[in-house]
Symmetry: C2
Subunit: 401 residues, 2 copies
Amino acid sequence: MALPANPTPAHGHCNPNHPYATPQGIHFCLCRRHRKPNYENRITSPCAPTSPASPNILRKPNHVPMRTNISGFPEYTPSEQLAFDAITSKIRHVYESFGYVPLETAAVERIDTLTSKGIDSKEVYALRRLNAQGDDGDKDIALRFDLTVPLARYVAQNYSSLTFPFRRYQCQPVWRGERAQKGRYRQFHQFDLDIIADGKLPLEADAEILAAANTALTAVLPQGTAFTMRINNRKLLTGLVEGAGYAGDDVYKAIKVIDDLEKVSAEEAVKRLTEINGSANVQALLTHIKTTDFSTLTSLNDMAQEGLTELQAVLATLNQLLPNSTTLVADLTIARGLDYYTGTVAETRLHAAPELGSICSGGRYDNLTASLSDRNLPGVGVSIGVSRLAAWLMDQPPYNS
Amino acid sequence: MALPANPTPAHGHCNPNHPYATPQGIHFCLCRRHRKPNYENRITSPCAPTSPASPNILRKPNHVPMRTNISGFPEYTPSEQLAFDAITSKIRHVYESFGYVPLETAAVERIDTLTSKGIDSKEVYALRRLNAQGDDGDKDIALRFDLTVPLARYVAQNYSSLTFPFRRYQCQPVWRGERAQKGRYRQFHQFDLDIIADGKLPLEADAEILAAANTALTAVLPQGTAFTMRINNRKLLTGLVEGAGYAGDDVYKAIKVIDDLEKVSAEEAVKRLTEINGSANVQALLTHIKTTDFSTLTSLNDMAQEGLTELQAVLATLNQLLPNSTTLVADLTIARGLDYYTGTVAETRLHAAPELGSICSGGRYDNLTASLSDRNLPGVGVSIGVSRLAAWLMDQPPYNS
């Protein structure tokens, strides 16, 4: 997706008598009609003035300059940036059509706000003023790690001026001080969509969020790109795990094994689950979570039954909102690692690119703002890993044109 | 520009039988038609689905939550964010119509890249990994301070894949660790426009940059908002200062006094200029730089003559590009503080809001990449202080609707 190597010569629609034409009569057309990928038909206006080019701009010496950007902080070429902007613009328009408003938060948060959410502090980039003397008040701040914690802080802070349920989308970079390695970036963009309510957030919000994200993916993916959004409920999963005999900390350990089911063999999963609790009914648990027929889920405990009822309600609303969708399935093996999810959880994979992992994930978090506010501000949200998705899309038509 | 305090009740164009209507039959309309300021007529599609609202979302307790964003890192409300996005979108469209492509650079640069440009290192926000052990390779990076140095680094680094002259626009936040005070932000957006050439950048590029910025301001300001873009040339100014008897370091000192002329009395300016060099022809210098008639500039030295010729050429091209503009004036008192300017310099003020200072400034820098590359990559650029401008615009129609 590099720009053309050399300026394009004059074209018919460019005015060779333009005041910018060079004394030599050479007119280099660098107007957007000739430089931009034509993937979005954005080019509607006549060519703009261009500057004269001196002959030596065509010289391409071989020397490579020394200064570089920093490992893990990728930068797009202008053509790639145009493609990225086209991708985020499509998602934005879908989200606005669903009634969401944009929000951008400051790049920094207080360190205690960030780390109160169980983030590995080694991955947090703290700021310090270079050569600052004494206490300058900038010592306890760090770059944001995700967009969910800043949202929770923003809503708690601006509670009195917001309309609830508060619906916002947010597309901004996040920073993670991970060890540099292939495919691991220290700066990347997330495109988040969330609803936060004051007091009670109805279950239909879960379906609305997933429908909006599903619609955005359909808009942004090349036509015919198959993807599956797998939906589960953490109450159902927790209830099934408890019903199989796990209790206390073992419940979350078992859920972590289930979260890894796609990566390990069936035998390995049984082995790990048995290691956590030798007397648990591992086979019944695996049979339950692998079912695609809810009617096989009988004798559920109260938590599992509540989760199943919620899951069925979310699916029913989703089928009203996206009546002909082939992208939605219930999948009781979906757990999502993060421990702040309390209900609906979802993951999305492209059939053609399973190696990307989930490109769109999220769920319901009823207690995320507990440490930020004394109010009950439950939320549900979904995040598109737009840097990762864009990296794949840029190799596909129409974005690779 | 706060959102309406309460959800709006159902409107005729919303479907009260929508699946999201509450069991009580109450339908709260939170669609974008009712939530967004209507300043841009962006609302063309039918209303989107909205969620049911539980009765307690109308409760507005008095408690103020404790967590806040950080002083100097302002955040917009969603309505303000919509206005800001509308403002940047207008500028973007003008710049694209002039043939510029978007660029975004990583938030961080190497500290030695940043400080090689004479920035006060106390204002640089360096990063450190919180609780990281040993050398993790992230110790020498810092948040960008402006968008010009990252551009120079990007062009030097990606020289072989870029088309020259390279035209890009860039709208991103910059960070400055200044002492917190009213109107001084530690994070704010700049909207930059630059051309960088390989070897030689023709003077018409200076006019093109100023014409594009002028057009963008006209597009973004409320109709009839008067502004003046004052244009000068550093060679002319330097030549006049030298012609008055200043030499060596005194030249830049005198230029700094001229840069402050609007802030001090005529007597104070004479006093300061005399302090720098008691034998300089201060009155002749002040008479020269205050003239609005170039024909009074006689007996110029070579540098001043070269600057005057350049200034006249830039103005002539600008008058071709913007034939009926009332916003352009030559003003020989314009200096711009930054020492990397080598030719054309410009500042722009709103007549109605002189307290904003210059909302759009820039100039020609022929040697900025010297420390980043062994090539000669001269540039010219202009920066709109879009955070500052937007703060004013949001109080004006149509943005305050």
